[in-house]
Symmetry: C2
Subunit: 707 residues, 2 copies
């Protein structure tokens, strides 16, 4: 890819491997890209009518971004309705897939706006509020090639521990030992596998980072052990803002050392989040990153093995200055006959105090002695918070994998942690958004990702949580999470029949771990995607526009149900496929379908799993958590017309020894012979963990061979 | 249908024809309905797994309501996200279509809650906050039969003038003569047909009902004529709340005569809407209805021929008491360290002042001398405002049809006016919601209805407005409308190519008037539906669950495009069908498809129109408005396997003479003979307006006969 520098851009460390980058002068900008100097600085491209535009990672809209305006501006967007332009991330990669195929990565830490044929139906216009940015242009013959080139330049994705691929349970909040224990026991009693329980903000002493509320957890490290003995890990939340409180060491240390962001007068900037007034660590400063990152040790020393970094856009409920102005404005309206104009002003005043641009423009980062306005670096904040933790983990625990994921992100953060897609809602529309978003997020290298399954805001129906879980079975991060005050939505929170369906789906997840983990690790190591749009692998016009089916790894296609009361759907099969409607995963009932459009019945307790032609799926067995899975036996499920091969990757799942070659790769080859019978070529080494392989092989005639 | 009285219910006048009602005692409640006396009063039904539940008219969710909670509580729901439970209407009809088939109509003027298998997956529970209601139970062999029985009992639907079937243009606002004239000229210059231009709140003098801002319209009646000479009618908005202002006659008269709702101390209740402080006419009082209804004459006398009644849930921005409390609460927070709890309280305080339950409970209606709390009658308010206008029109202009539709409604209001579906957004999701809602609304008799095409809130893309208009071509009320500050979305507001597509679609609308008007009038006269779910006509399991296709009248099925960047879709054809992809309606290009699933290509400029087997579509010609259409020639388009018949209804379109038999019915019969050629049996009477009929007849072999 080529890099063209405009102005004097801040170094974001998004691109780290310069071997894949060729810097060229502005004069070598391709002729199809126009540069426009207007009120904002923009570049534009004249799209052809049927060009498809992929990219933008975590954002609203479809896989095809055409027809909308999007912004990269990390934002605490709790209510992401279809008119919103920005979510929690800034993923400035956009790829035109048409007559001309190319990707553009805008490396710019400020707000970037992508008008993808909204204002003018055929114009892609990307604008920045200041002209300092690096433009990377990636050409290639396919979406896949472009993504791969880009990924090579931004570095290898974060790899979580294997147990982080288990089912995870969260809510705001299981606030204390009793509630956590109760949830843990309910999982075990209902025989639903689960690996982690999340600790939302209430575990802290007054929402102070790296503290524990002693009233709720008198012996925290003992409790961590107690829960771990039940087979669960606890995952506490860490917020960006640190409570302003004399005597609270993080508050005091940060002030003493000048580690917090400053206001225009050079005093620590005060915003407000959960505890009220907070300071914001200046994560742009490497010393602050080291300081803050090392604080995670406080919890790790008590047995904690994973974290989620939240509110790091950063979310700011209000600033001291902002709320003062709002109060004055509101008071000035008192006693007036408030009609249409003042009424909306009044509403806007209160709405406007949160996450306000004015506040973001009112504080500063100290970058090597230079004060830079936060607004201009806004999109790097969450990235560098997570980088702080990630770098500290590598330094302090070089051999251990620690679970880490973040709400806000920028390109490059994928090297330090995963992401979840933020505060969605229990809307069917957000299940579909989740499906559409996964391939886009994967292009940026955020392989360890997922949505709040069942939806965070609002009450969920059993059916919604079931259908969402059935999709979530395939997302690397599979976490059921909901907010304060909503209906309980754990897998055992509904009726008995629903619980049975959840159990089957989650058992399948655990059985799929050999495949999911193998595909995840290969995608990470080879700069590939784990979730892919059909356009990624198929170039026909129908596949390129499919928005409600995805590929998972090399062998599987999904066509989830994402509407209520739905027991059938249309499925486009871009090639011949084998359909396994999975209820109980030990029951392999299949049907073959030729390439084409198919209308498929799918009952509430069925997950339709499509195995591609000449591809192989590997499953194992479920257990109550990842650590306890018996790995000695696997089942190979294959749909072979002539020849299928698969490389099954595995490693210890908890250390970083895989980096030193400490992993296994089992090559499986299945040939169909002239008599239509399969021949299997697989060599188990003597010291292999796997001792037995079962084969379920379907040939093109639909004959099943059990070997 | 049977009627069972519970408690002492308020007389709503929803049901008007007692010939269709049999009153039975509570002891005769069918055994499958359970009555539960708990905190609320509820009735419940144990659903079978695959029961489908239709109904609830204007509300969120699908055609099949199962899996959600809905409320009937007329509400100014500007932001109708999927978690909302109530929109602007209270349409308490719910129909179980399963092993057992029956409808329930809850005639109750207060809030009604329908839990359709949300809390318990198999239980339909309908609860009321007080036990005074009439329960109607309608049994039948089909959805269609149940709806028809119900409709017979609630009376004949409102019939608008024929010109109200033309294209209509609105926005908040075309505030003055200049802007209205400009819009009118743009329609004529771009050769896009249009019949009306809407006047939103800014035409009034300080938002005072029945006044005109003299600065904007110095000679209003002259301007009405001027615009009518250009071929447009002006449609002003009327709000429920009347400005509190000494010297404003409506304010003064209402106070003098005690025509306004009262607070608990017997003083006129003061809320606030557009002009700030307003009084709310007590529409429950027949004298007030007469007084207010007669006020429409003020505008009719100036040449106005249609109205839209708005804000009549009623919307209340705040009450005097409510805003005072809110100010106190906000001030009490000043200077505090506002953390998570106070922060949300602060936000809720400002959110909570609008349309608050507390306010609705704080004022009273005078019903025959008895003061009844508004909250208990809430859902009747908009209904009775529109009834006020409708009754006055019948009294004052018995021969003339006047356009009238309302935002809020209750069952029975369909006799007085139509409805639009309120303040939707420029979201693709709301186009789909519009599609799903039309059959539900039709069941309640609200035949003259439609959504704000293109979406009211938010900015719209050309593509969204195009696809929405392509569906809107079939809604009786076809109005493009958007709010203050959004992107212009008139059919000429985008690029030239889009304008061409809008022109084709709207030309088609005008050409379809013979069919649309005929089907509308027959549906009204025969208590039938104009928009129907497939479940209405087809009983197979696939048809019963289709949520994104609808039937329009007797001959046509629609399968609209409702997602962006989409140029194809799956279509379920419940019987053999003839597909006409309409671009230019004078170009009849067709294809035949057998019953089954089909994947159909649909370009942006195409409207896929499916003509049913043995059915007939009649089209005419377009013109710049309805009045100027040449009705002398029609084209009959038919797909005939053996025999097709059609009755084409028509009348003068402006008077009520049709009630006295002054209408025409042309019977068209087409037989396919043994040689596969069609034989046409149609007799034009000598005095028929129609002088020429062209026939385009396709037989089952796909042969086209032009006769």
């Amino acid at each position: 890819m080529i890099k063209i520098e405009f102005g004097n851009s801040f170094v974001t460390d998004a691109v780290v491997d310069i071997n894949y980058v060729k810097v060229v002068p502005q004069t070598q900008l391709p002729e199809f890209i126009a540069v426009n100097q207007g009120e904002n600085f923009s570049i534009s491209y004249g799209m052809k009518k049927k060009d498809i535009v992929f990219g933008l990672g975590e954002n609203v809209g479809g896989m095809n971004k055409r027809g909308g305006i999007y912004e990269s501006f990390c934002f605490d967007e709790f209510n992401h309705t279809p008119d919103k332009k920005s979510l929690y991330a800034a993923h400035n990669l956009i790829i035109v897939d048409g007559e001309r195929k190319f990707g553009l990565f805008i490396d710019h830490p400020g707000k970037v706006r992508f008008d993808v044929g909204f204002t003018d139906i055929d114009t892609l216009e990307i604008s920045m509020e200041n002209p300092n940015f690096n433009l990377y242009i990636i050409t290639g013959n396919s979406l896949k090639e472009i993504v791969k080139k880009f990924r090579k330049a931004i570095g290898i994705s974060y790899i979580p521990p294997k147990w982080a691929f288990g089912f995870q349970q969260s809510r705001w909040s299981y606030p204390d030992m009793t509630s956590i224990t109760e949830i843990a026991d309910k999982f075990r009693n209902s025989q639903i596998p689960c690996d982690t329980i999340y600790m939302d903000i209430d575990y802290m002493d007054n929402y102070k980072n790296f503290t524990i509320d002693k009233a709720k957890f008198p012996e925290f490290s003992e409790f961590v052990k107690f829960i771990k003995n039940k087979g669960f890990r606890l995952i506490p939340i860490i917020d960006a803002g640190c409570k302003k409180e004399k005597g609270y060491d993080i508050s005091d240390e940060g002030i003493e050392n000048g580690y917090y962001c400053l206001d225009k007068d050079g005093k620590p900037f005060v915003g407000a989040v959960w505890p009220g007034h907070v300071y914001f660590p200046d994560f742009m400063n490497s010393k602050v990153r080291t300081w803050f990152g090392d604080k995670y040790k406080i919890l790790i020393d008590q047995g904690i093995e994973g974290f989620w970094n939240d509110m790091n856009e950063p979310a700011i409920f209000y600033s001291e200055g902002g709320i003062k102005k709002a109060f004055e404005k509101i008071k000035s309206m008192e006693g007036k006959n408030i009609g249409v104009d003042l009424y909306f002003q009044m509403k806007d005043t209160m709405e406007g105090i949160s996450h306000s641009i004015e506040d973001y423009k009112s504080f500063y980062h100290n970058v090597d002695g230079e004060l830079i306005n936060h607004y201009d670096l806004h999109n790097l904040y969450g990235y560098n918070m997570t980088r702080a933790a990630g770098e500290s983990f590598v330094k302090n625990y070089p051999d251990k994998r620690i679970l880490l994921f973040s709400r806000a992100s920028y390109v490059g953060m994928h090297r330090y942690g995963g992401i979840w897609t933020g505060d969605n809602k229990s809307w069917w529309e957000h299940l579909l958004l989740n499906i559409k978003m996964m391939p886009s997020i994967n292009m940026l290298g955020f392989l360890y990702s997922g949505a709040d399954v069942g939806g965070f805001g609002c009450d969920a129906s059993a059916e919604l949580v079931i259908r969402w879980t059935q999709f979530g079975v395939f997302t690397p991060l599979l976490r059921n999470h909901t907010t304060l005050g909503t209906r309980a939505q754990e897998p055992f929170a509904f009726d008995v029949e629903s619980t049975d369906i959840f159990r089957s789906a989650i058992n399948l997840r655990y059985a799929l771990i050999p495949y999911i983990y193998s595909e995840f690790m290969k995608a990470a190591k080879e700069s590939e995607c784990y979730f892919k749009s059909l356009a990624y692998e198929f170039s026909d016009d129908i596949s390129r526009r499919v928005e409600d089916q995805v590929l998972v790894g090399d062998s599987v296609m999904l066509a989830p149900i994402y509407t209520p009361n739905t027991f059938s759907r249309n499925v486009w099969m871009p090639e011949d496929m084998l359909l396994w409607k999975v209820g109980d995963y030990t029951d392999f009932n299949y049907s073959l379908h030729p390439k084409g459009h198919h209308f498929i019945d799918i009952e509430l307790d069925e997950i339709p799993l499509f195995i591609r032609k000449n591809k192989i799926l590997v499953i194992g067995n479920h257990s109550h958590n990842i650590d306890s899975i018996d790995q000695s036996e696997i089942t190979v499920i294959a749909y072979v017309q002539d020849l299928a091969t698969y490389r099954l990757y595995n490693d210890d799942g908890v250390t970083t020894n895989y980096m030193n070659g400490d992993y296994t790769e089992l090559d499986i080859t299945i040939k169909i012979q002239e008599d239509s019978k399969p021949q299997v070529l697989t060599n188990l080494s003597e010291n292999s963990i796997i001792k037995k392989i079962n084969y379920l092989i379907v040939n093109s005639k639909g004959q099943l061979f059990k070997l």
